[in-house]
């Protein structure tokens, strides 16, 4: 996904002279083309993320469209105060990219995991929160973010993630995308975990359970119309994310659900439990440890369905 980001931001930098890219000393060579195409608009801000965010806000308040890029914990929790005050309080159109989000950097340990970012960033007034599942969504959402006039946070994966959408799929901020139709249950996901959700749905299909899959790439604002539709139609809604169970996509949908009147579907959530992962391994291993792998999702959905 980071290669797709680099490619798309390079195009945007060439198309729009307001686009400025700020990196926290990562992406060596990744942005060489951007640097060529957008002379004087790439800034390696060093390992100093708080300053980088303030610089971006100052630029955004003066006619530029800065995009800030580094590894997720460092572009979110590390500089949360600057995001809150400089970007959000000022309504400054800063686009914040968290690369290697969730458990993409599982091997690097919890300093590089991000299982809190969606929860924390969505509390900020005026902040749009995005989690594309593949490069098709990433490219469309990045373009959409540039059309908004306020701060945007987008968490992306690392590299080698499968493409889940057909090319040309229409992706718009705030509108969920149906990845697969189904009849027995609906699984809602955000971000790269959707590749596991698809595998889980494949497993369920083998047993005759057809699960609908929705990509909620926009975690804030939620597509409430789509939520109302699926919660009124299916007996079970499962929400999956590579994020903690507290306050992320599942949490925000649960908040929405308690505001609704009438009988709604049962809801279950897949996410990381409230703990750091001290035993290190691959992303697949980490997903299994947190119970957000395809097999666990399929088994728990199957068990929860009415017989």
């Amino acid at each position: 996904m980071r290669n797709a980001f680099a490619d798309e931001v390079t195009k945007l930098g060439a198309e729009d002279s307001r686009v400025v890219l700020l990196s926290g000393d990562i992406g060596n060579k990744l942005f060489d083309k951007f640097k060529d195409n957008a002379k004087g608009r790439f800034f390696n801000c060093g390992v100093a993320e708080a300053n980088m965010m303030g610089v971006a806000a100052g630029m955004a308040l003066n006619g530029l469209r800065p995009i800030v890029y580094t590894i997720t914990p460092f572009t979110t929790t590390r500089c949360f105060e600057q995001i809150r005050v400089d970007a959000c309080y000022h309504g400054a159109p800063v686009i914040i990219i968290g690369t290697g989000s969730g458990l993409s950097y599982a091997e690097l340990g919890p300093t590089h995991h991000s299982l809190e970012d969606l929860a924390i960033l969505r509390t900020l007034p005026g902040m749009t929160v995005l989690a594309p599942c593949d490069e098709v969504e990433l490219r469309a959402l990045l373009r959409g973010a540039l059309e908004l006039n306020g701060p945007v946070y987008m968490r992306i994966g690392k590299k080698g993630e499968p493409v889940l959408h057909a090319k040309g799929t229409s992706v718009r901020i705030g509108k969920a995308v149906t990845l697969r139709e189904g009849t027995e249950a609906c699984i809602i996901g955000a971000g790269t975990i959707l590749s596991e959700v698809i595998k889980a749905a494949d497993d369920l299909a083998k047993e005759g359970i057809r699960a609908r899959i929705e990509s909620f790439h926009t975690v804030k604002p939620l597509d409430e119309e789509r939520l109302a539709e699926v919660f009124g139609r299916y007996p079970l809604i499962a929400v999956a994310e590579e994020h903690g169970l507290l306050g992320g996509l599942g949490g925000s949908i649960a908040e929405w659900r308690v505001r609704q009147d009438g009988r709604l579907a049962r809801m279950m959530a897949f996410g990381a439990e409230d703990s750091f992962l001290h035993e290190i391994g691959s992303q697949d291993y980490a997903r299994r440890r947190y119970g957000i792998d395809a097999r666990t999702i399929a088994a728990r959905v199957r068990a929860a369905l009415p017989r």
Partner: protein
């Protein structure tokens, strides 16, 4: 309409500084707004900037060619609010509801969308210099010749992000950025030198790659000479360490840190006005 410097003569600047001090003290008494000592220490710097050197357009406060001024020591807002009104960004009468529920005027600057003349909403320390650096870089990218001046304080130099910004500004050789440190040797609860080892403050800025000058922060003639010399001929960003006195202008407030939070009584306001030579 173009941006313009006010370029008032020093004698007039001195008169305006006295007037501003009185208005700030009266307002503190009337609205029970604290940080009087911090406000009085930076009045002369604000007057020199706004009434002499900054190129401004109060009628069109977002004029893209204006110089940017950020009060990064946001608790000095009671001083800035008076100065902006005196400079014509809004009528003095707008300050009548200062401190009331629903007012724009409280203890820190609101966002630029809410009050003309404000470039950044500050109050949490350490935000003005990075944002100012972003504004200066935007000026370079957009091909505009404005200066960005950030008024900071010795207490604010505790914030690590100040030094992050200092290093990036130096590596970018962003010559149209200036930080003024209102160095009154106090912070909220004690002597700044005792809380964090600041000395040698000017040498620190020099070591971080800034063209660094020391000034008497109450000598208007000296201040406007320095501000008029921006950008520095070396091509480096400029740091001005302005030696100031907290509570400057009122003998019983000067260098007494109780006035970080204390509110003056009516008789203290009268005594201050007498000292400042402004009839009460």
């Amino acid at each position: 309409m173009a941006v313009e410097q006010a370029r008032l003569p020093v004698a007039e600047l001195e008169r305006l500084a006295r007037t501003a001090r009185v208005r700030i003290i009266e307002n503190s008494h009337r609205t029970e707004t604290p940080h009087l000592g911090s406000c009085l220490s930076c009045v002369d710097i604000l007057v020199a900037a706004y009434f002499h050197t900054l190129r401004l357009d109060p009628i069109n406060p977002r004029n893209p060619d204006r110089d940017r001024f950020i009060l990064s020591k946001g608790h000095g807002a009671p001083a800035l609010f008076q100065i902006l009104a005196m400079r014509g960004f809004y009528p003095l009468s707008l300050l009548d509801d200062y401190g009331q529920d629903g007012s724009l005027f409280a203890e820190h600057p609101p966002t630029p969308d809410h009050l003309p003349g404000i470039e950044a909403a500050t109050g949490s320390l350490g935000h003005g210099l990075p944002m100012g650096l972003g504004m200066a870089l935007a000026g370079r990218i957009n091909g505009r010749q404005y200066n960005t001046v950030v008024l900071s304080s010795d207490g604010e130099c505790n914030e690590g992000v100040m030094w992050e910004a200092a290093m990036l500004a130096a590596s970018q050789a962003i010559e149209r950025l200036c930080v003024i440190v209102d160095f009154n040797r106090w912070q909220a609860t004690g002597r700044s030198e005792e809380i964090m080892a600041l000395a040698p403050l000017a040498d620190k800025w020099r070591a971080f790659g800034w063209a660094t000058y020391e000034a008497d922060g109450h000598d208007l003639a000296g201040l406007l000479r320095m501000l008029s010399a921006l950008p520095d001929p070396t091509g480096k960003p400029t740091a001005i360490i302005a030696h100031t006195v907290k509570g400057k202008g009122v003998s019983f407030m000067e260098d007494d840190n109780n006035w970080h939070y204390r509110i003056p009584k009516a008789e203290e306001v009268a005594a201050a006005k007498k000292e400042l030579g402004v009839p009460g």
